[in-house]
């Protein structure tokens, strides 16, 4: 994070015209892949991410099965064409780490103990990356879990806050992430009030950190509303389909 580029203009606006505490445009859709047990799609700014859930199902290889709960697995993966410079398809160290932290962000929300000896597999595919993909990936994966009918204690929703040109901002884009002073991705369970993913790079005083954490949580709460709408839209669509069937 070098901070050489000017990221906040004279009107206090960001490179993409947003106010410091403003989210990027977000679009979500639930239930879009026919093979998966659950699936969802998110666009947040220019980031475009798909998630699918398979399970609860038999565990392969079998010796990984847990006697008292489901095995939750998560794979965060980027398409070779999702970034400026083509990415090799083999998982990078970054992708392996993010798979782990996203899994751990979702795990506290899922009633794993209801499905012993099975696996629940979450696949997140980043089709285009423009910053904040671990957060958007967490948000969309939670939708896919819900779409798969997996019983959950709460939804999980994620959003980053950070610091650019000395200003605390919400939902960093790629440029702000790379050139800013700090990035703080947070996953939140809005009804339980718990933080299930927390990372930080950069430099923040404890005071700044407190504010940034609150800002991120506020962002999560806003995105949570959109999550619920996306789920509702799916059920309305199903209802309409059923009614059309019954009428015909």
């Amino acid at each position: 994070m070098s901070g050489k580029i000017r990221l906040i203009d004279e009107n206090g606006l960001r490179v993409d015209g947003r106010k410091p505490n403003e989210l990027r445009p977000i679009k979500m859709e639930v239930g879009i892949l026919s093979n998966a047990d659950g699936s969802a799609y998110i666009e947040q700014g220019k980031s475009k991410i798909l998630a699918a859930v398979y399970g609860p199902r038999e565990v392969h290889p079998r010796h990984l099965a847990l006697p008292d709960r489901a095995l939750l697995r998560c794979r965060y993966h980027m398409a070779p064409f999702s970034v400026e410079e083509r990415k090799s398809p083999a998982p990078s160290r970054r992708e392996i780490e993010l798979s782990k932290v996203i899994k751990e962000a979702l795990e506290p929300a899922v009633f794993l103990e209801k499905f012993p000896r099975t696996s629940i597999d979450i696949f997140i595919e980043v089709l285009q990356a423009d910053g904040g993909t671990r957060c958007a990936g967490t948000t969309v994966a939670a939708l896919a879990l819900a779409d798969a009918g997996i019983p959950m204690r709460d939804l999980v929703v994620a959003c980053a806050a950070g610091k650019v040109d000395g200003v605390l901002v919400l939902d960093l884009n790629d440029l702000e992430d790379k050139e800013g002073e700090a990035d703080l991705p947070v996953a939140y369970m809005p009804n339980l009030g718990l933080v299930s993913l927390l990372q930080m790079d950069g430099l923040l005083t404890i005071e700044e950190f407190k504010q940034a954490l609150n800002l991120a949580i506020e962002g999560c709460k806003q995105i949570y509303k959109l999550q619920k709408e996306a789920l509702k839209a799916k059920y309305i669509a199903i209802k309409e389909e059923v009614e059309t069937c019954l009428q015909s």
């Binding site: 998966a36 475009k48 699918a52 064409f81 400026e84 398809p89 696949f123």
Partner: protein, 265 residues
């Protein structure tokens, strides 16, 4: 490719219908499922396309970089086709190194593009023997409901047509990027048509359940002039020479139809 279990009864039903010239989903033997093509969906890629063929969904991204030419083709750009069967797309797909099916798919698409000389690779050389454009075609299967080859070939072609490459100038042996972009130079438009052999009939564009029970698969790729540029037989069965020749004539017609979906004018 897949071992999704479908019941014996349903298997019988599908093959008996085909024997009598019909298909379970109402299509005729040589009908494609509804096809939907979108391009330019990945702004960070130099070219991209999404193809829906029934419920089969494929995204292709084209990335363009600079690199070295092959020693035996010093004056030509380099083409690389890669495919990934990500586990999101099917319970049968696993993470890890590419499966033989995935490699076969990429190689069949590659041959169609390469042998029809679709891309004018000789226009993609900046400094002979040293610097050329490298074109990466990455095929990403998002939902597998059969006939990945045709969907991938169509998406690849649509993505190539959609591709804009940055213009470079060479000054005193130094390469400089300009702010301009130009379309990828193309001279041909290959289309792959795939048949499944079921009940001794060839049906076009098999969906997943048909692939489960097919005895053999035959893909014939045609260039814009109606010439064959690639063939691939797959599956554990065999075909008569007559079946193959018949398939070629049908495929040539179908290829014309499909090409019109991506090539305007």
């Amino acid at each position: 490719m897949s071992s999704i279990m479908i019941s014996r009864i349903r298997q019988k039903q599908i093959s008996q219908m085909i024997a009598s010239g019909k298909r379970l989903d109402g299509r005729g033997l040589t009908d494609y499922r509804p096809i939907k093509i979108e391009t330019g969906i990945i702004e960070k890629a130099e070219g991209s396309a999404r193809v829906l063929m029934g419920r089969t969904e494929v995204v292709v991204g084209v990335k363009v970089e600079l690199g070295e030419p092959f020693p035996d083709r010093p004056n030509e750009g380099v083409l690389t086709v890669n495919s990934e069967f990500v586990p999101l797309a099917s319970p049968e797909f696993e993470a890890g190194p590419p499966s033989e099916e995935s490699i076969e798919l990429a190689r069949v698409i590659d041959r169609g593009i390469r042998e029809s000389q679709a891309i004018e690779l000789e226009k993609l050389c900046l400094i002979p023997g040293k610097k050329v454009y490298v074109i990466f075609i990455d095929i990403y299967v998002l939902n597998h409901d059969g006939n990945l080859i045709d969907a991938s070939a169509l998406a690849s072609l649509a993505a190539l047509i959609n591709t804009k490459i940055p213009v470079y100038v060479v000054e005193n042996g130094e390469i400089k990027k300009t702010s301009e972009y130009m379309p990828l130079p193309m001279r041909n438009y290959p289309i792959a048509i795939t048949f499944a052999n079921i009940s001794d009939k060839l049906v076009i564009d098999p969906w997943l359940e048909e692939e489960e029970i097919m005895n053999a698969r035959l893909t014939i790729t045609f260039d814009k002039d109606g010439r064959i540029c690639a063939i691939q037989k797959g599956g554990q069965g065999a075909l008569t020479p007559q079946q193959i020749i018949e398939a070629a004539y049908i495929a040539r017609e179908k290829a014309e139809e499909l090409r019109m979906l991506v090539v305007k004018n």
